[in-house]
């Protein structure tokens, strides 16, 4: 049953009917089926729910809904009981019948599945009261947990395509652009370019045709907000693109999405098909004269294709290599025609701005950065997941209040923001408000919103080496500074980590970094030295310790450490000997064990296994 909506009023009345037919008070169990929760077994839980309601004969009364990502991936699979919004975590298929019985009864709570505050040991019932959610402002990401991404009715039911309605019926393209400009929205892909200005330039540019492109080639290690948005709420992106097409005057849109995101691809294609069937994509949309179609293009696994010109080259079927942007892509982009490229999150912000108005939107955030930003909080942090916070929140609030701090009571050391080409910020900068400009000043960047938290066990030189090697592998190799520079940089960092660093290596790294910063062709090369420069700026002593004293202060770099067993602390439990893959540890039960350093492969297994801190790294 898919109605082909021919006019704006037909869409409006269709939505009203939907709302009327759905009782917000009727019980609904939403199971998070984002990629994170699926990995924890959400699909089995979902299957168990579906089976059980059939068994119990309550499939009319209780709705089971598979939704997109809720963000709290650490505790998946997540199940939310609506309308009360009771949040259960780490749900397994065995819990299903108990939950269903409670819901069918119309009350009761299963204590053990609730979130427990680590300090007060208190159980928290409702989703919005859990600290992880309490401090967030989930305006873009919020609907993810409410709707089934494969059902367009769910989206329309919560007010979807209302912004499109408003734009087509009451606004001119110029007014739309003025609205976006006034909202202060800046590109969420990393560059932070004002979206309205980009749109305006693209509208003004001359060309036979214009293209709208959605960049979903999210390649930063640890970042997955674009993925979750596309998986959980694809229609918000489609609606944003439709509004952009109207404002700019485009007939053709592309979503360039990583091939490694199968669920995002399938949910998005499903959404596009449904939108087309409903008459929301295609020719003469809602009788407004707007023609627009969206095609999905799957990327071939190159990080550099997230760069706009490389992405366009790849869309054209050429090798994904960037080109100089002295002539901007809004003038000559895809097939040399004016092209407007925005990131997934940017597109998802558009309907919100149109619906709720400029004043509301620009009241959120800081002077130079408006709205919210989704961050993926990963690394050494208690609450791994996706968080959406207003711009200007401090790193401390994000990491400690929302993220729940560092596991095992370790000490916070640094946070890497902005992905591989971002920078590392030390403890002293924890009170830095997070927005585009402040991060840039501190030598890092917003990037696409990755946040990797590091504790005292992380070696900063090794961290820089990891990111430089990632970029070395992902560099397209077109320009000299990026290709040759990253290769040499990787070698120097490797050498330092092995304890073979030389006098002058730090200066050489700095020389190399400065030239790469100034002369690389694209954003990848221009920002590639950031991990090195920011760690040199804030953790120079660690580099010096590696080179001058052949010592790794974090006791991490394999070539610079050795393991031994403290005879007084060892209880002879044998746990270390059991896990040692090299049989380097010997000793009788209840007697002090011995570690043979020649056999030791420095895998850290014994260190992790010992409960008495008897394994010592020196």
């Amino acid at each position: 049953m898919s109605p082909h909506l021919k006019t704006i009023s037909e869409l409006r009345s269709f939505r009203e009917n939907l709302k009327r037919s759905r009782d917000p008070r009727s019980p609904c169990i939403t199971v998070c089926s984002g990629t994170g929760c699926q990995a924890c077994g959400a699909l089995e839980v979902l299957e168990a729910f579906r089976e059980k309601i059939r068994e119990m004969g309550v499939n009319q009364e209780i709705e089971i809904r598979a939704t997109g990502c809720h963000g709290f991936c650490e505790r998946g699979p997540l199940v939310v009981i609506r309308p009360q919004k009771i949040c259960y975590m780490n749900v397994s298929p065995e819990d299903v019948s108990e939950i269903l019985h409670q819901v069918a009864k119309g009350g009761g709570v299963i204590e053990r599945l609730l979130y427990q505050d680590p300090m007060t040991k208190q159980r928290i019932l409702y989703e919005e009261e859990i600290p992880f959610y309490k401090f967030q402002r989930r305006i873009v990401f919020g609907s993810n947990g409410e709707i089934d991404p494969t059902n367009i009715d769910d989206y329309i039911g919560i007010g979807g395509y209302q912004a499109l309605e408003k734009v087509l019926s009451t606004m001119t393209p110029e007014e739309v652009i003025q609205t976006i400009k006034a909202s202060g929205l800046r590109g969420r892909g990393g560059g932070g370019f004002p979206t309205g200005i980009k749109w305006e330039a693209c509208r003004r540019a001359k060309g036979r045709e214009k293209f709208i492109i959605c960049n979903a080639d999210e390649g930063d290690p640890g970042a997955y907000m674009d993925r979750s948005l596309l998986e959980g709420n694809p229609h918000s992106v489609i609606e944003g693109m439709l509004i952009g097409a109207y404002a700019i005057g485009s007939e053709e849109g592309y979503v360039y999405v990583r091939n490694e995101y199968p669920l995002a691809v399938s949910n998005l294609s499903c959404a596009i098909d449904q939108a087309r069937a409903y008459g929301l994509l295609g020719r003469n949309i809602l009788s407004s004269g707007l023609n627009f179609q969206i095609k999905i293009n799957r990327g071939g696994g190159a990080f550099v294709c997230g760069e706009s010109t490389a992405l366009m080259a790849s869309l054209e079927g050429r090798v994904g290599e960037p080109r100089a942007k002295y002539i901007h892509t809004v003038e000559q982009g895809l097939w040399n025609q004016p092209s407007n490229l925005n990131n997934v999150e940017t597109w998802a912000n558009i309907p919100l701005i149109i619906n709720r108005g400029v004043e509301w939107y620009s009241s959120i955030g800081t002077e130079g950065s408006k709205g919210t930003k989704i961050f993926s909080l990963v690394g050494k942090i208690n609450h791994t997941g996706l968080v959406e916070v207003p711009m200007g929140m401090t790193l401390r609030q994000i990491i400690f209040d929302i993220g729940g701090g560092i596991p095992k009571n370790k000490r916070f050391k640094a946070v890497q923001t902005g992905g591989p080409s971002g920078g590392c910020l030390p403890e002293a900068l924890l009170d830095l408000p997070v927005d585009f400009d402040r991060l840039q000043e501190a030598g890092s960047m917003m990037g696409s919103g990755g946040m990797i938290v590091m504790d005292e066990d992380n070696c900063m030189v090794d961290m820089a080496r990891y990111f430089v090697q990632f970029l070395e592998e992902e560099s397209c190799g077109k320009c000299t500074p990026c290709r040759e520079g990253l290769y040499q940089m990787g070698r120097i960092l490797n050498r330092i980590c092995r304890g073979e660093g030389r006098e002058g290596d730090i200066e050489l790294l700095e020389d190399l970094s400065l030239v790469m910063l100034e002369s690389s062709l694209c954003g990848l090369g221009l920002t590639a030295p950031n991990p090195v420069l920011s760690t040199l700026r804030y953790f120079r002593d660690e580099y010096e310790a590696h080179i001058q004293e052949r010592r790794c202060p974090a006791k991490f770099c394999r070539e610079l450490i050795s393991f031994s067993i403290h005879p007084e602390k060892c209880t002879g439990c044998g746990a270390c000997a059991k896990v040692c893959p090299a049989q380097a540890i010997t000793g009788e039960r209840k007697k002090v064990h011995l570690l043979e350093s020649q056999k030791c492969v420095k895998c850290r297994a014994c260190f992790e296994a010992c409960k008495f801190d008897a394994v010592i790294i020196s």
Binding site: R208, E209, G249, E251, E252, G282, R283, G289, N291, Q293, A302, V304, V319, R323, A324, Y326, I327, W335, Q337, E472, E473, E474, S475, C476, G477, K478, C479, T480, P481, R483, E484, G485, L486, Y487, Q488, R491, G504, L508, D511, L512, L514, V515, E518, S519, S520, L521
Partner: protein, 426 residues
Amino acid sequence: MVSLTINGKKVRGSEGSTLLELCREKGISIPTLCYHPDLSPQGSCRLCTVEVFKDGKRRMVTACNFPIQSGIEVWTHSSPVLRVRRLLIELLLARCPEANVLQTLARELGMEGNRFYTKDPKERCILCGLCIRTCREIVGANAIGFSQRGTAKKVSTPFEVDSDQCIACGACEFICPTGAIQMEMDRIRKIKTSDTGMKRYCRYMRLGLIDFMICSNGFECWRCELDQRMEDQFPPHPVFALKPAKKRIPLEIESFIFHPDLFYDDQHLWFKPMDSWIKVGLDGLSSVFALAADSIWLPSEGEHIREGEEIAQFIQEDKKLIFISPITGKVLGINRDILESPSLAWRDPYHRGWLLMIQSEEKEKIYRLYSGERAKEWFTERAKEMKPILKDLEETGASKDREVWRKEEIQKKWIFLTRILFSNKP
């Protein structure tokens, strides 16, 4: 004319030219490795980096592809620029220590020693890409390209197999600045280069510079008289003197796009003979109708069509524009994108806006159609007739969105336009 300052001196250059072109014109020398005046700038060696100030903001740009702007202040040899150039040469010398061009540049910049690691002291290729662009943009053979990426990047043939796309013209060897490419005649001789596999077409024939010539010297070009004559007549290398591929790129005639490498018939359909099939589309003039059409009809895939039968219909309300096939064959494929969006034919007539592919034995019929200079003359004549109507549209349409206006006008003038365009149509 654009006026700007270079190294403190006021200069003027023509709009659209690049900074490097202007500098060379004014006698300012900027080193380059990946630049060649006959090729599109790639901007990859970064040696031509210069410092540009605009409205107080400083930027480092590559001169080879930076279009000059009025009011900018350019420094071509400031100390930050020289620091960049020195380090880039140091990096490239670490890659290719034996390359003479690099050694000379290093001497000129007064450099000594190298702080970086050399992986392969025998490496010669600096990945400037001159050979690849020459093969694509001058020769038109597309026989080589970059493979791999990052530090593993290299120049190679597709799948690193000796392929018959290579016509052994030697232009890549000629252009290589470091001597990294050498012709291997033994291997070239083994590549099949003609239909029978035994005969070998002369490289000048495959370049389109002479009509027909079978090589009788086993590709030992130094023994060939014709080869000698060509080299004498077109120094320093015939390919660069004649630039065959440059004659095959689409050009704008009276603001309509014309593709010089295709065949055209009186209906303003273009034909492109491929291996065993022919690709068909609307040319830059008749595609105007696609802009106004409500829908397009195309035959279905697999259908057999005879000469004189319909191969496409453009429908707008009660009006219909019918195109007929000049050949007999089987429809191999149709462009589904154009069915969804007919205006694609106007937006991109020779590339994404194709209509259908026909498998046919009658290729020779296509060869009899308009082509080359004759096609261009014929197209220009028609374009001139069409131009006043569309020019009129552009001027009066200033208040309304240009494309929408044009579309409406075409709808109104549909019959009138068909009369101009298809006066020769049977």
